[in-house]
Amino acid sequence: MTLWAATRANLIKDLRLEWRSKDALNATGFFSLLVVVIFSFSFEPTAEEARRIAGGLIWVAFLFAAIIALNQTWARELRHHVLDGYRLSPAPASALFLGKALGNFIFVAAVEAITAPLFIIFYNLRAVGDASLLILVFLFGTWALVVNGTFFAALSIRTRNREVMLPLLLFPISVPAVLAMVQATTFILTGDDSPLLWIKLLIGYDVIFTTAGLLLFPTVLNAE
């Protein structure tokens, strides 16, 4: 049983389950819409100010949205103890983690793809810097949130107050990643400076924590 084959089986299963239940997508999508609307009339910025604050606002919105999606991610594995079925199989535990992280990446990225245009419309944003780099920031930034989020969600399902625990664990560890996403986005929008340093930091963060997650997940899965 190769890591890749099992990862693919998990990813396809998660996509299919989400497609049928739409648990994560509906709640997350609507939530980020609400955040965009509330931010829009809480701050009424000029074009110049909008470029400065949009990076921060947009990532705060996505961070909260990701929490909602991630909180559901393990619930469906606990129902009817399907997780026990996985643990009995010879498939590697890290494949479950990787498949789930990839699935969450797709869900959160889909929500971002819907919400980001709304931000642009409500704030009349126009990037002064190289807008194509935004794609890199969003890819690596979103992965930074979901890879740790998937891991910490697996920790929080073992506690008494599951839903509250996830942000308590995820936010402190995500500080450098959030800083990097916000800085890179702001620099691209304002054109003040090069965002490359921050994109590199994001890549480094992704590599370190993806490795740590893959290595430690089997231990967490069999913690019982």
Partner: protein, 178 residues
Amino acid sequence: MSVLLGENGAGKSTLMRIACGLAQPSSGSVTLHGTLGYMAHATMLYDELTGMENLSYFAQLYGLTDSACIAAISAVGLDPALARHVRDYSQGMRQRLSLARAILNEPEILLLDEPFSNVDIASTSQMAKLLGELRDRGKTLLVITHQPAALSKVADEYIVLREGRITERSRTLTEVWA
């Protein structure tokens, strides 16, 4: 086929979870000779998937193909082409699909935890018949149940567990209850 009896909390389910490697014993060890299949109290199935989709997912985890799934589903008397989601299955059908999941990898040893729970009488006798067939195909079965009478035709021995220890072991049910 051995039937494991005992009051609630005697340690039957825990024993099975330890045997499967799902839980760690605080002392001692379990030795099993052969591949393992486990049908738990919970179904270990996804509500939003069809029976075939469920089995096909687990088959991939075992490195098996869809033909193994079709064989397993047919063996428990279900239709592999059934497009209904497991959510809409009756309890008896769920239990049978759960058994199909447990025998998917053709295990030599089958551990079954309450295969008759919340199942009507017709399904119970059908399930007992299925288990008898598995026994006749040379599988070793260990069954936990509160309804040992349902297995009276197919069981080979009865084991009573109390306070985590085996207190009685017998060939017939009446001796155990005496």
